[in-house]
């Protein structure tokens, strides 16, 4: 047995050496690539160095530092022009902090192994790539937003087969999304789906796909879909279920209703669509993405009695079953004047609905829309001028979510403050405008997305919300602000020296 294993091992080594010797163009067995962005943005206005709250206003100056490293090891290399089996192993580590660039100071606790999978080809069928492990797949990217609406299986561990042909690709995936959805409250979420991408003459692409996750009920598993009976929605969102119960039954803690299995199967789904076209006139390429999804029901949270310190689990599957999200976006890249002026124009629309929730203002019931335009003028091959502007509107569908001034805590809806948090301010709508401009040094030459780039940027934001940028001052309505400003802060200014690149 030992001798046969040794023989196989030696044969394996022989295959590795022989195949690598055949390729004349170099083909490294190990390779690594990645992405980084790092910036210095001193923020004198009390912010955290980001212009606004998020990527809805464009990724530029709204994202912090980030680093990703992906490694690939070819376990078995196929000689060129053959149908011999090949296999590779991929691992990616990434995270959003760098020492001295953000408040986490580069803590490795903020990094994670986000991708780990093995790929193999020419097994069972030619032109089929098998992938075992993480399964992230996306049709493309809204580069100005750093958002990938048409993304599938990013929550799935499993097995996929991707058939690659000249005119189309077909992807079939099956796996488990339980850990991504539930974490410590893990329960198996059997996930399956497919995606197809078809190409028409090099100028058009059409794609679509869907994934469905179903949670089998497992009797006796505390993480399965149970519900706590007689829970009213408002008590749930206020986290006052146990408090109200004990007010009604002061000595009834031990009689708190036990959870029972939900009558409905917990399931979620996601459907995505994609249309791409370009390669004619000034249009380099246009990507349109759409995603519609039903979010998976949540499981339980822990409610604690402030007096006794005793706690119970409140099961909420039936209260979180009707959550939906629509996201669509378009990005158009134009070559306005070749090697002199390029433009990218993006629009984004999203709508989130939680039909069970008709009382609490939150981002679960919100419409957001935005448009971003970036122009890049090339002084020379590597010295460019960047100009970007964005306009965004966010509308709360369930009451006031935003605050117009620093003391809006005292002037909530209809002048009635709700310090317990069903409303977050005194405005239903937040309008935001940003503008960023500056010099870009691109060693690799022309292109809005050419990287790496070194940028010296100035940007400002105007928002109808008070202090609409990440800071520690005004996050909560009930937060006492001892350093209240003399006026509403609508503007935010930043200068940024930054670098970004893929490698």
């Amino acid at each position: 047995m030992r001798r046969s294993s040794l023989t196989v091992f030696i044969a394996w080594l022989g295959v590795l050496c022989a195949t690598s010797a055949l390729a004349q163009a170099p083909d490294s067995r190990f390779s690594a690539g990645g992405y980084y962005r790092i910036m210095a943005r001193p923020d004198f206005q009390g912010g955290d160095g980001r212009l606004g709250y998020g990527n809805l206003y464009g990724r530029l100056m709204n994202e912090g530092p980030y680093a990703a490293l992906e490694m690939k090891l070819d376990l078995l290399q196929a000689p060129p022009g053959t149908t011999e089996i090949w296999a590779s192993l991929h691992a990616r580590i990434e995270g959003g902090t760098v020492f001295s660039a953000d408040s986490s100071n580069g803590s490795l606790a903020n990094f994670r192994v986000s991708q780990l999978y093995a790929r193999a080809g020419n097994i069972l069928a030619p032109n089929v790539v098998w992938q075992l492990g993480t399964q992230q797949y996306f049709f493309g990217d809204l580069g100005l937003y750093d958002i990938r609406p048409a993304q599938l299986f990013d929550d799935t561990i499993g097995l996929s087969a991707r058939y690659l042909a000249e005119k189309f690709d077909l992807l079939l995936t099956i796996g488990d999304a339980g850990f991504a959805a539930r974490g410590l409250q893990y329960v198996p979420l059997l996930t399956a789906g497919a995606a197809i991408r078809a190409r028409f003459g090099g100028h058009f692409e059409l794609g679509g796909g869907a994934q469905v996750s179903v949670e089998p009920f497992i009797d006796g598993n505390r993480n399965s879909s149970y519900v706590t009976p007689t829970v009213r929605y408002e008590e749930y969102v206020r986290r006052e279920v146990l408090q109200r119960y004990l007010e009604d039954f002061p000595l009834g803690f031990n009689q708190f209703p036990l959870p029972r299995p939900s009558a409905d199967t917990s399931a979620s789904y996601r459907a995505v669509g994609y249309l791409g076209f370009g390669g004619f006139g000034p249009v380099r390429w246009d990507n349109f993405f759409i995603r519609y999804q039903r979010l998976h029901p949540q499981n339980f949270y822990t409610d604690t009695d402030a007096n006794s310190g005793r706690s119970v689990q409140i099961y909420v599957a039936d209260l979180t079953r009707d959550r939906y999200a629509l996201l669509m976006g378009n990005e158009l890249q134009l070559k306005l004047i070749p090697d002199r002026l390029d433009a990218v124009w993006s629009v984004l629309y999203s709508q989130n609905r939680d039909y069970a929730n008709s009382i609490k203002a939150s981002e679960d019931n919100r419409i957001a829309m935005s448009t971003v335009l970036r122009l890049q003028l090339y002084f020379t091959r590597s010295l460019h001028l960047l100009f970007e502007t964005s306009i965004a509107q966010e509308q709360s569908l369930n009451g006031n979510l935003y605050r117009s001034n620093f003391d809006a805590i005292f002037s909530s809806s209809q002048g009635v403050a709700d310090a317990r948090g069903l409303e977050y301010g005194d405005m239903k709508t937040r309008n935001t405008v940003q503008l960023k401009t500056g010099l870009v040094l691109n060693p690799t030459g022309f292109g809005i997305y050419a990287r790496p780039s070194i940028r010296l940027l100035y940007g400002f934001q105007h928002s109808t919300q008070h202090a609409a940028f990440g800071n520690a001052f005004v996050q909560q309505l009930d937060q006492f602000d001892a350093f209240r400003p003399r006026s509403t802060i609508s503007w935010h200014h930043l200068v940024s020296l930054e670098s970004e690149g893929w490698f």
């Binding site: 170099p26 390779s31 690539g33 992405y35 032109n127 049709f139 990938r148 893929w502």
Partner: protein, 385 residues
Amino acid sequence: MAPLGFARVGGLVLSRAPRLLAVLSVLGLLGGACIPRIPIQRLPTTTPIAVAYVVDPAFAGEPTTAPEKLKAVIAAILAERNLQPVELPLEVVKGGKLTDTRMAAMREADTQTPYLLLVELRVQFFSQLDGRYRWEVGTTLTAERRQGTQVKDPFEVPIVLIYDHEKQDAAMVAASHDIGSRLGVLLDGLLSASATAPTAASAKPGAIYFVMVDRFLNGNHANDADADPSDLSAFHGGDLDGLIDRLDWLQSLGIDTVWLSPIFTMRTEQWHGYGAFHGYWTFDLASLEPRFGTEQTVVKLRQALRTRGMKLVLDLVLNHVGPDAPVIAAHPGWFHRRGGVTDWHDATQLETFDVHGLPDLAQENPEVAASLRAATRRWLRPRPA
């Protein structure tokens, strides 16, 4: 109140921004202009160069040719050096799997052009990476002056593409700037080595392999004499024929210069228990030790090296002669005869005393110097006046 903040902060920045921008732009342009450029080797007349492109498939499939945009970049690099590309069809090289085979096919297909260039590519998908698509473009550039120097540059270019529909061709086009830059450097090296008279820089060897001739390879058993490979002190039979047989292997290691242990008439008997196979006990620098080869063998070795673009270094022992060399009795005045070195920090001793008892030549003696010079010149290639 809000506009006040904008006027104070934003106004300051906006009013100065154009001036700052202009200053930085000028600095950038000036900075770019001040960077010295490496001179390009340009041939005096337009010279054709046979060029072949082959893109090996990542997996199954047939080799293809390179995209036209990459070819255009390469043509521009060639034109800068006054080289006129003559593209050979893919069929010439697609049958071969190895660079050497493909180069041989090019030489056979085109017997006229003085230069050859083979561009081999292989493009592989790496991964979807943070919204982008990363590819790797493996490239080997091989350039050759017909019957002369061959230079090769294998490298990989990482490429990040924005869109999924951009596949291998787009990756190669994106890599064309890098490939062109590397090709320029490679060609400059080739042209400077072959088109101009040797200079100190161009004659500088790359990688040197020292050959202990007797221990390298026995290529001719007829000259073995009393060789005995079982005796560590004896001659083992290695010779110049054996070296010629292994030149391809040496070249595959990246060797471009071969340095031989002394191959001249020498003492062949052991001395104080030490063997003579190393060749440093020379008797006559003007004649060859028959165990290693004849003058015809040296000529054959030279030609074999020249066709591979390799260089030869002969090790002439000018400090001393071998024990009991006939020249000691014939010209006793050619030696210092001051005894062995006792103080290795004494420069005078090092220059004029015997090293380990080996008779030290008095190079300051004009007769000795003339003799050594004559022996040295004997092995140099005749140069045009």
